[in-house]
Amino acid sequence: MTTILEMRDITKTFPGVKALQNVTIKVERGTVHAICGENGAGKSTLMKVLSGVYPHGTFDGQILFEDQPVEFRTINDSEAAGVVIIHQELALSPFLSIAENIYLGNEQAKRGFIDWNKTNLEASKLLARVGLKDNPITKVIDIGVGKQQLVEIAKALSKRVKLLILDEPTAALNDDDSAHLLDLIKHLREQGITCIIISHKLNEIEEIADAVTIIRDGRTIETLDMHAGEVNEDRIIRGMVGRDLESRYPDHTSHVGEELLRIEDWTVHHPIDRSRKVVDGANVMVRAGEIVGIAGLMGAGRTELAMSVFGHSYGTGISGKLYKRGKEITVKNVPQAVAAGIAYATEDRKRYGLNLIDDIKRNVSGSALGKLANFAGFVNAPEETQVANGYRKSMNIKAPTVAAITGKLSGGNQQKVVLSQWLFSDPEVLILDEPTRGIDVGAKYEIYTIINQLADQGKGVIVISSELPELLGICDRIYTLSEGHITADVPREEATAEHLMQFMTKFREAAEA
C-alpha cells in the first residue's frame, strides 16, 4: 500500500480560536479513512485546509499529495489535482437539472456553446455509476436529499477524483439511503478511489472504514487500524472523549400525566402541488411528562406534520383540530403557536434555525425576547447575556463567549444554540426535529439528559428522528408515519426496530406495488 496523502503539523487559527494544532494525518491509497471527533474538534476545518477552501498560506504545516508537496490556493487547484470535497451542507443549485449541476463550473461546451446532448449523455453515465436511475434533466429540487448526495458524488466523479472527502454525508439521510451510500463508497474503493469520511454515526465507520484518525480539541489523538481487531465503537468513543462511556442513553423513568396536546385528523396539502396530501388524517397525542417519538422514512411527512402544527409554517389546505389539555385551540401562525406553549426546533438549522450573522446570545433570546423586555419594549441586555451564558455552560456550547457569531461555530454547536433558543422560550410542548443530527456521542447523551429533564418538569416532548435506536432508547411511545399516514402507535416495551420498520414502510410498499 502506498500513501496518497500526508498532512504534517497543520495549525490553523481563527481570530480567538486555535482550531487545529499540529495535526498530522496519513491516508493510504485505496482505503476509506474516517475522521472522528467531538463537535468543534476541527474535522471540517482540517478538510477545508486540505481542499483549498482555506488557501495555502492561511495555515501552517505541509500537505503532501501523491508524495508531492502541494499548495492549493483555491478549490479549483485541489480539484485539478484530484481532491474533491463534498461539504457538510450540500451545495447544489436547486433549480438546475441534475446534469447541469454535475457540470456546473465544468460545462461541456464547444466553442463557448454548451453541448446539451453530451452533457446529458455523460451525466447519465455518471448517474449509472452511483446507482441513480433518474433522468439527468430532472431538477435537483425535485429529488430527495439522499439522491442529492449521490448527485454530489457523481459530480465529484466527473472531475476524475482520486481522493474524495465526505463531510458527514449521511447526517441528513435515512437508514436506507445511508446504506446505499455506504455501498457506493465501498464500490468506489474497489475502483481505487480513496475516501476520507467524517461521521458521527460510529456504526457506519465501523462498517466501512479501514482506518480511523481521532481528533480532539484540534489535535490528533491517534490513528486506529480498523482491521487490527478489538477496534469497535466503544474504542473510538474512548479516543474521542478521552474515557469510557458506560451507556449511550441515560436511564429514565417517565411520570406520565394528563393529556397535553392532541392533534386530530390532521391533513396537510403540498404548498405547490395542492392536490397532493403530504399528511393524511394524522392523530397524535402527547401527555405531560411523556416523550413521544415519530419514526418514518425520508419523505414520510414527519417535518411537514410538525411544521404545519407549529402555526401553519408549512403547507396549504390544512385541516384538523388541535386540543391543548382537552380544549380546542386555534394556531394559525407562529406567534400563536408560541403563545400556546408549542415550540419547534428545526432540523435545518442554517436555513430555518439561526441568524448566522448574529451572535449566540441574540439567537438564544430570539424566540422569547419579550421575556427580557420591560413594558416599553426595551431589552435588558445584561440579563440577556447572563441567560445565554447559562445555556453556554449547561449545553456545553464550545465558543469563547456568547458574543461569538453563530455562523462560525461548528455544526454541532450550532445545533445546541437552536435547542437553547427553544428551551429559553419555556414551552409546554416541545417538538424536536432531528435534535441530534450532526452531534457527537458525548453531546448526544447531554441532549438526551436535557430531554429527560424537560419531561420530568411535566412538559410533553415529541422527538422526530431518522435513527431508530435513538427513538427506542429515549421514547415512551413511538408513532410511525408512512406516506403521510400514522400507521402505528407503539409503547416502548413492545417496540423493536423490525416492528417499527414494518409500519414505516406500510404505505410505501402499497404505493410501489
Binding site: 481563527f14 480539541d217 441574540r362 419579550g370 431589552v379 445584561p382 456545553n396 469563547p400 463567549t401
Partner: protein, 413 residues
C-alpha cells in the same frame, strides 16, 4: 457528561479572553483596537476628510457659518438615512424617498399657500401623508411579497408624477416664516456678542447626558460582570465625544446659535438608536435581515415589522421633504432628485451590509456626514459637479470594498 475539567488542552487556554485587562500591555490594546476597527475607521475617515478640507480651503470648512451650513444643508439626507438604514438592515431598499420628498414638499405648499391652513396643521397632515405613502409601499412589500426594489421603483415614478400634478407644474414660494424655521431657522438667542448662551447650555446638557448614559451603562455591565470594554478605551471614546460636541457647540454659539434642524436630528438619532439597539422591535429588524426564515419560525411577526419599517420610512421622508422645502423656501416638482442615492450611499458607507442584518444609526449618520462634508468642501473649492459625483462614487465603492476586505481577512463563514 463531557466535562471540560478533564481536558487540560480544552477551550480556555486556546481562546482569547476578551475581558483581558488592558494592563496586559500594548499587544492586548492593539488586539482590542483591531476588533473595533470598523467603528474607528469610519470615525477617522470623517476626521481625515474634515482636516483635508480645512487645510485645502484655507480654514473655511470649520468656520462657524460653514459648520452651521453643513448641518442645515445635509439635515434632510441625514433624516432620510435614519429611515433608510432600518429598511436596509431588514434586507430591503427604498428608491422612492427622493420623489416622496418632492411630493410632500408640494403638498405642504399647496396646503399652506393655496388652501391657507395654519403651518402646524399642514405639518401634521404632511406627516400623516408620509405614513400613508409608507403604508402603501409597505403593504405591497410585506403582505404581497413584491420585492421592495420593484415597489419603490414604481413609487419613485408614482410620487414624482404626483408632485407634478399637485403643483400643476408650477413652483410654490414663499412659505410662512414659522414653517421656514424648521428648515433654516435657529433657536431664539440671548444677546449676540461672544458665545451665545442658549446654545452653550444645550451643548453642556448634551455632554452631561453623554457622560451620564456612558457611565450608567458601564456600571450596569459591571454589576452583571459583563464589562468587556477596557477603561482606557471607554475614557478615550468619551473624551473624543465630549471634544466633538464642545467644538460644534462653540462654533455654533459664535455664529447664529442652534439650528432648529439640529435639535430635530438630535432627537431622531437618540430615539432611533435606542429603538434599534435596545427594543424588541429593533431586534426583530436585525433578525429579519439576518435570516428571514429563521425569524419567522422564531415567532417574529415578520410581515408586520416589514410593514412598519416602510411606514416609518414614509414619515421620515415626509419630514425630510418639509425640512428641504422650508430650507429652500420653495416647493418644486423636481425637488429631491437623487436624494435616495445619497441616503443609500450614506447607509452603506456607514457599514450596513448589502445583504441585510447589519448596520447602525450612528454609522449611517457618520456616512451621511462624510458625504455632506465632501459636497461642501468640493463646492467651496469650486470643483465642478461632474467631479463631485465621481469622487462620491469612488468613496462609496472604497468604503464597501474596505468592508469586504475586512470580512475576508477575518475568515470566511
Amino acid at each position: 457528561m463531557t466535562d471540560t475539567k478533564k481536558r487540560p488542552e480544552g477551550m480556555s487556554p486556546q481562546t482569547i479572553d476578551v475581558r483581558e485587562p488592558a494592563a496586559n500591555g500594548a499587544a492586548a490594546a492593539f488586539r482590542y483596537l483591531t476588533g473595533q476597527f470598523r467603528q474607528i475607521g469610519l470615525f477617522l475617515a470623517l476626521i481625515v476628510i474634515v482636516a483635508f478640507f480645512q487645510i485645502t480651503t484655507g480654514g473655511i470648512t470649520l468656520q462657524p457659518d460653514n459648520v452651521s451650513n453643513i448641518i442645515i444643508q445635509n439635515s434632510y439626507i441625514l433624516i432620510l438615512a435614519v429611515g433608510m438604514v432600518m429598511v436596509i438592515i431588514a434586507g430591503h431598499i427604498d428608491l422612492s424617498v427622493g420623489s416622496v420628498v418632492a411630493f410632500v414638499g408640494a403638498v405642504s405648499g399647496v396646503l399652506m399657500t393655496r388652501v391657507g391652513l395654519p403651518f402646524w396643521l399642514a405639518i401634521i397632515l404632511c406627516l400623516v401623508l408620509g405614513a400613508i405613502i409608507g403604508a402603501w409601499q409597505g403593504f405591497w412589500v410585506a403582505y404581497f411579497g413584491i420585492p421592495a426594489f420593484i415597489v419603490t421603483l414604481a413609487g419613485m415614478l408614482i410620487f414624482r408624477g404626483a408632485a407634478f400634478i399637485a403643483l400643476g407644474n408650477q413652483q410654490i414660494s414663499p412659505f410662512p416664516d414659522p414653517f421656514r424655521a424648521i428648515g433654516s431657522g435657529f433657536l431664539p438667542t440671548l444677546g449676540d456678542s461672544g458665545y451665545e448662551p442658549i446654545t452653550v447650555i444645550i451643548g453642556l446638557l448634551a455632554i452631561v447626558s453623554i457622560v451620564a448614559t456612558g457611565l450608567r451603562g458601564r456600571l450596569t455591565r459591571k454589576k452583571y460582570a459583563l464589562e468587556d470594554e477596557p477603561i482606557w478605551w471607554f475614557s478615550l471614546k468619551l473624551v473624543a465625544m465630549i471634544g466633538l460636541v464642545l467644538l460644534v457647540t462653540l462654533l455654533l454659539a459664535s455664529y447664529n446659535g442652534t439650528p432648529v434642524v439640529l435639535i430635530i436630528l438630535g432627537v431622531l438619532v437618540v430615539v432611533y438608536t435606542a429603538v434599534m439597539g435596545r427594543t424588541v422591535f429593533g431586534r426583530h429588524i436585525y433578525a429579519i435581515g439576518g435570516n428571514l426564515a429563521a425569524a419567522t419560525l422564531s415567532g417574529v411577526k415578520t410581515k408586520r415589522v416589514t410593514f412598519l419599517i416602510f411606514v416609518n420610512m414614509g414619515v421620515l421622508a415626509a419630514l425630510a421633504g418639509m425640512v428641504f422645502t422650508a430650507g429652500l423656501n420653495l416647493a418644486s416638482p423636481s425637488a429631491g432628485n437623487g436624494f435616495e442615492l445619497d441616503a443609500i450611499s450614506a447607509v452603506f458607507i456607514g457599514g450596513a451590509a448589502v445583504t441585510g442584518g447589519i448596520g447602525t444609526i450612528p454609522g449611517a449618520i457618520i456616512g451621511g456626514l462624510i458625504i455632506g462634508v465632501l459636497n461642501n468642501g468640493m463646492s467651496i473649492l469650486g470643483i465642478g459637479i461632474e467631479y463631485q459625483q465621481l469622487v462620491k462614487g469612488l468613496v462609496l465603492l472604497a468604503a464597501v470594498a474596505f468592508d469586504f476586505y475586512n470580512k475576508r481577512r477575518g475568515g470566511s463563514r
